[in-house]
Symmetry: C2
Subunit: 352 residues, 2 copies
């Protein structure tokens, strides 16, 4: 009988944020791929596209005209998943049975254009301009969160057509709403349990151990660390964690803002450099809800969920077993971290 | 203020199997789509493809030669996510800390070819031949489940390249393993709670109410019902539930087996008819684990998770908000059920 070795043998790892297990199959990387290939359009984009509904001065689908903006531009999503309007609700008239629980949900969806330049992406933006994006995120978190019916503000970006992003113009979204969404509520529960027990932030304690081991660290600056979580699901999943225990984005000092902009850039530059392609991902910020409660358990972090696995055209599919039973990955988090760590800090397209 | 109406206004619904909420945005179906289009190869396939590693008599990647089989053919996955071999494990040598929990996982991955005919799919197979597939599923569940280190047998199918399926030959997979996978364990917990409280099967009681309302029923025969769950996440998600409280596939009578084969066919015929395309999906069976315990809480059901949303080429992306915060859907389960219900029972390609 051979001795168990997590670099070679199938095993499960525990995610303390969601209180669930993930299947890791290091031996599986060898399987041949005969399935779907992603196609990438690497044609350079114009800096202004007359057909883009996010470009400055253009008309949107609902008839509104975008301002002739420079820099960051924010507006309400024309086809949001939520509605601002309050509705009159009689719970007894709707489904109340055990099996038919339903309740209205109120909220605001915003679109955040990161730049007027249609051809850019986050890794190609300057740290200065990324700092301005972060300031807009702060502002949105503050003003949306101040509304009495907004208890959670989800800031995120879907990048690339592989991630269902319908427009290459650099932009993200904000979905803010009355309820704490499912995955955030679960994470909060686990952070809370840990905080109550230890009076410390789970992620601060985790980060300390990761910084000692260094096995899963991708990049580190004075105020932030990017790492592949021990329990990562996506092949090149990363998490950017603040070194200081910040509960939300408003607590960042000016210096921390710049450091966050820098690590945001470097993390995504490394992604692009991995397969020399504009790397698709979904990314988003996890932080304290805006429900008016104290949330010492929350620790600001940003998650990146990128689907590419073996090359610019072969992604990991979260299907079948994953949808029915459990998340599964092939390459180990340690391998992924090492690969990302070793990649250059300069974008492959950059002239420098 | 307008009165809340679940057919028009955003709301959340509760999934009692996973104890989580789903965001439903009926008003959102109107948004225009400028994103990725799936491409479909509707070229008719040969009944035998010399390059297919699943066709009878062909060589597989690892050098093995497939039997010259007719009907159903099962073999061990050459690139499984699990390994049969036991390993020697010293828990103290591996990660034991709060944040680095890891344990070996042992198991067997099987591939089930549904037919020797490379060109077929489940909706195009006869009820007789589908009954034979069900018998093989029974046999695999029995024999794998009898092994002392196999406590859960996950039977599933990924269909279509959109679902990461690397080969169009009609086939499914079985991943059997020592642990109860994350999503199954959660479901079991909720089924158990309900059973302990009511001494009845949650799904039996749910089915009863669905059969009274009929709003979400897709198809029904003497022994099985296909419906769009009240809390469905995917646009045309369906669940086939046994009318009798079967804990697992072995408890099916001969008649039930035929009825299951029939509803399996009809459900997938309706899918293909929806957009007149071979409809991609992940599907799989949820049933009692094979851990040697009594599981009166389990109620046999089969889930279908198909991604297509608006047409043969536009799918729903579970990205950004969905990965970070909560599952979200546009079209309501009631609308989806009505559309599926109204579709013909005869396959669009069929000559009859
Ligand atoms: O085994 P296959 O069909 O090659 O692989 C497919 O199904 C597996 C089980 O759901 C997934 O882990 C893979 O990501 C997917 O591509
Ligand atoms: O709003 P978009 O970018 O058009 O849409 C994209 O992101 C949304 C939020 O993650 C998802 O609900 C959609 O499925 C996806 O296509």
């Amino acid at each position: 009988m051979s001795t168990f070795n997590y670099k070679e043998h199938p095993h499960r790892r525990y995610n303390p944020l969601l209180d669930e297990w993930v299947l890791v199959s290091p031996q599986r990387s060898k399987r041949p791929w005969q399935g779907q290939q992603e196609s990438f359009d690497e044609e350079p984009l114009p800096t202004h596209d007359p057909d883009c509904y996010l470009c400055a001065g253009n008309q949107r689908v609902n008839g509104d005209i975008n301002a002739k903006y420079k820099g960051v531009y924010v507006f309400d999503n024309d086809f949001g998943s939520l509605m601002k309007e309050d509705t009159e609700w009689n719970p007894e008239e709707t489904f109340t049975d055990d099996f038919f629980k339903l309740k209205p949900e109120r909220g605001i969806n915003r679109v955040v254009c990161f730049s007027e330049d249609h051809s850019l992406t986050i890794p190609e933006m300057s740290v200065d301009n990324l700092t301005k994006v972060i300031e807009v995120w702060q502002n949105e978190y503050r003003t949306l969160g101040a509304l009495d019916y907004i208890n959670h503000v989800q800031i995120f970006e879907n990048k690339g057509s592989t991630m269902g992003c319908s427009n290459p113009h650099p932009h993200g979204q904000i979905w803010s709403q009355s309820s704490i969404p499912t995955l955030v509520a679960k994470t909060q529960e686990n952070l809370q349990k840990y905080f109550q027990k230890n009076q410390t932030s789970l992620l601060a304690d985790y980060l300390k151990k990761e910084l000692e081991s260094r096995e899963r660290i991708v990049f580190e600056n004075e105020h932030f660390v990017s790492l592949v979580p021990f329990w990562a699901v996506w092949p090149y999943e990363t998490m950017i964690i603040s070194k200081r225990h910040l509960c939300n984005i408003l607590e960042m000092t000016g210096e921390e803002k710049t450091a966050f902009a820098e690590i945001l850039k470097i993390n995504t530059v490394k992604y692009d450099n991995l397969f020399q392609v504009s790397f698709p991902y979904s990314a988003g910020i996890h932080q304290a809800p805006t429900d008016g409660e104290e949330h010492p358990e929350w620790h600001f972090h940003m998650m990146f969920y990128p689907p590419l696995l073996r090359s610019a055209t072969v992604k990991k599919f979260m299907v079948g077993y994953e949808l029915l039973a459990e998340a599964q990955r092939d390459i180990t988090p340690e391998q992924s971290a090492q690969i990302l760590r070793d990649l250059p800090l300069v974008h492959y397209k950059s002239k420098n």
